[in-house]
Amino acid sequence: MEVDTGKLNSIVQKYNGDKSYILAIFQDIQRIYRFLPKEAIKYTCEQLDIPFSKGYEVATFYKTLSLKPRGKHTIHVCLGTACHLRGGPNVADTFERELQVKIGDTTGDDNFTLETVNCLGACALAPLVRVDEQDFGKTTPGGVKSIINEFRNGE
């Protein structure tokens, strides 16, 4: 895919072209594209003067970074210890059934990417679901539909 080198340049500039900020640079790029395009990794490595293989190492090590395109909304079902004990896995299964996707995949209409996360740090309100930047505490399988509907209608 085509990447906007102007935008990439300004992100790299923001960190003074310092290669130790490669993770932060990748995170900023991901905000633009909702994932990390191959061409963007390659271009960034050239700008930072590091081998493509080193950039790829970083891009595949950190879970935050996605090399696959993501949907409009990302649903994170938390599976931290407290969430696990209070029924998080069941909530995740329900999302899989309702959206008809597997964890890690994106719905056919590009609306939702379903992910699990190992702890979001809102353990007192387990099980927790985060959609984009919004948190839903004490979720139940019964409440899954209404969370999906809240974001489904092009909000």
């Binding site: 191959k38 990794i41 390659k42 081998p51 493509f52 293989s53 080193k54 950039g55 790829y56 190492e57 595949t60 090590f61």
Partner: protein, 236 residues
Amino acid sequence: MVEFKINGKQVKAEKGETVLAVAIREGFAIPTLCHHDVLGADGRCRLCVVEVRRGNRKRIVTSCLYPVENSIDVFTESDDVKLVRMTVLELLLARCPFSEVIQYLAKQYGVNTVRYTKDNDKGKCILCNTCVKTCETLVGVAALGMTGKGPLKKVSTPFDEPSDVCIGCGACVVACPTGHIYMEDRDGFRTIWRKKFELARCPACGRYHAPVEQLEFISKKSGVAIDELRICQNCK
């Protein structure tokens, strides 16, 4: 000068040396896989573990990284060392059942059964990182890297695609301790890491001897003309 004991024998070493180097020099056998004399040590495979005791404190350390210290007692065959060593070998054998090197070491150190479902998707790669470091520091190309993390970690070119920078030199093949990396020369072409290289033909004897890209790389680095490099080592 540092003085300490290995299996009860008093030994001397220079400050900054590793326990492994001294033990080998003193004639003690310590198995290694990921250690490389030129490329250094990372402590990845954990096969070279030894027990270090100081007073009542004992710990298991990798001898390839552990710097020698005065008055420590090193043991290369204690029960804990054997446990870790045998566990590592059994785990690696389950990961790479077809690796002759691992089979040989396992036999040598008494691992006769594998209690796990054997993997069939990892080839003979034990993730020792030797090929990656060879490509980066010796060849100066850095076509390879580690991908992912945890059990899914593997060595690859970016996106598993033919690398723009790989010169087909085959140094990684030579460096790999287990014979995992595969290279094929056929009909004037070399295939390695999914990339096909045209091989240069020696104008004197007609033998295919090295990828053209590698010769161009050497020419650029050394300033020697490419035509001169096209002549193979035998005919020079």
